[in-house]
Subunit: 338 residues, 2 copies
């Protein structure tokens, strides 16, 4: 089968590999219907993360179950499934507390940009859809696999809800879908920090009520202006840099909540600033599995259309072009068809 | 009247100053019944915080109202009162959200180690006791003014409660009273990290079920051993150093809660570590005013005796000896009588 490898900075290639087979009785093999390129895939693509050897890529996927191990009971061959980018047994104490992304027996998916994928802990990781989805729902279901679930988590941890003013730092797919999430959760006001016209437009479509183009201290000052001098109740950080984390914390009012989901790169938070800010801070890999049943329902009900973040589609053979387009910000997010 | 000044490292003196008078209609003047030396007073005493000029000290106090401004309605001359170390109007949005320590119109008390104290925003800052307390309750009421309220806040933000395992990093007065707080909140297991026999004894008296003497990675390993490899549900940080913050975060399970109240000194938190830890992090100056009514009730009911942290008492004239004894760890906390 075909699979995607990264070889070095800006160097993504498709190669033939063995089709995966059941290795553990808790495995499932799925035939990928759609996968995509993640903002976090750009860290190694841009050379920020070191690449020691050619490495399989991809952690977002929807597809059809082809085969299951003998202990798998919740999905069966022929089911259309959405899976989290994190593996989880969904039964351990950490899963039970709502953090399947940190399952005591879990791990990460890392080979999804391919034709087939072996998913360990299939019962705890995959969620079957109520029926095979209509074609136009596939991008939205694929978004649920990571970027929607991640934005939803950030909004959830930031306590977005009725009466709340929410600031979203970052206008990539996760930031944009955090806007959609905050809107679904009933937030009163959603301020998107964005400088790109196309992303501002999608931000407004997803529910943003205000756009702030300023960054740094000017950006913080604008947020304070918009929130009676106090800062926002809820802030979502969806970038992962020192600047964005500072922006998020400084935009939040004392006692407020910051949910951060940008994969942290070179961030160092001064304790004095944190102590003085007095904000609730929570983030990390999103427990997407926890939210999947609700997200799938909302998508099947056509209450949300997170698939709009896919502004380009490529065939798996042409995935390098997908990486390039995202790197160059020509596309918000790229859907890949095996 | 007599008041305490710090002049430089290890140099605390009492001097005569003008007795304070009502300056704003929202002020109260109180005659201090008891004040004390705070662990945070040791930062300048030890030279960690710079002292530019002789500076008044003290932010913990109980006393009797002597005079009130014309707008003060909730306390009156003759009332025995406990006040927070933070000033708050108790009506702004931030106060209403439960963070009076960050009142939009607030500030800090800084001249309480004296005979009299002017308390701005008296209505929102002071809480009168149900009656004049019996003498033996005074240390406990004084503890409520900061160290108990601070430990309570840390335990509250760490979500200490039934079924929870709580780790307390730091065995000073705040750490010890965080143990008492977690116990009151119904925590199932409370692990005190302490190396001092006298403090371990008080920790156990306040409700600690386990003592861990190891620190650093060994300390983390011991906590993991005691929590099925997962880490604690709730962690309280009551020191304020890089080591103690790392200890706290690393001892917490994914999805768990860290409440930090040690005044941060030279702390820098790596974003990657935070992202990978995936713990809820919240701390800062404790919103003591929010908890005072409940804490005063518990003390008057003799359900708790936080005053046990005062292991030494000195007269105001002799307060330098109190600083010395705390600096040398001869006393856990020193009560001062004007």
């Amino acid at each position: 089968m075909k699979a995607t490898f990264i070889h070095g900075t800006g160097d993504v290639r498709v190669a033939e590999v063995e089709k995966p087979t059941i290795a553990e009785p808790t495995d499932a093999i799925i035939k990928i219907t759609a996968t995509c390129v993640c903002g976090s895939d750009l860290w190694p693509y841009r050379g920020t993360d070191e690449i020691a050897e050619p490495t399989r890529m991809g952690h977002e996927y929807v597809g059809v179950v082809e085969e299951v191990g003998e202990e798998v009971s919740s999905v069966k061959p022929g089911d259309f499934v959405v899976g989290s980018f994190c593996l989880s047994d969904n039964t351990c104490e950490i899963c039970a507390d709502g953090y399947p992304s940190r399952c005591a027996n879990g791990g990460f998916v890392g080979e999804a940009q391919s034709e087939y994928l072996r998913v360990p802990l299939a019962d705890g990781t995959l969620v079957p859809t109520p029926s095979h989805p209509e074609e136009d729902l596939i991008p939205s279901l694929l978004a649920a696999s990571d970027v929607l679930g991640t934005g939803w988590f950030a909004a959830d941890e930031a306590q977005a809800g009725p009466g709340k003013t929410v600031v979203v730092v970052g206008d990539g797919a996760v930031g944009l879908l955090a806007i959609l999430s905050a809107k679904q959760m009933g937030a009163e006001r959603i301020i998107a920090m964005s400088r790109h016209a196309d992303r501002q437009a999608l931000a407004r479509e997803f529910g943003a009520t205000d756009i702030v183009e300023e960054r740094g201290e000017e950006g913080v000052a604008r947020i304070k202006d918009l929130t009676g001098g106090l800062g926002a109740h809820s802030v979502i950080e969806a970038v992962g840099t020192q600047e964005s984390m500072h922006q998020a914390i400084a935009s939040c009012r004392p006692g407020g909540y910051v949910g951060y989901v940008g994969v942290s790169h070179g961030v160092s938070l001064p304790g004095e600033e944190l102590f003085a800010s007095e904000v609730h801070l929570m983030g990390g890999p999103a427990p997407v599995r926890k939210y999947l049943p609700e997200l799938i329902r909302l998508i099947f009900d056509r209450a949300i259309e997170p698939g709009k973040v896919f502004t380009k589609e490529v065939a798996l053979d042409n995935i390098a072009e997908g990486y390039r387009a995202m790197d160059q910000r020509e596309a918000i997010k790229v859907l890949v068809r095996p």
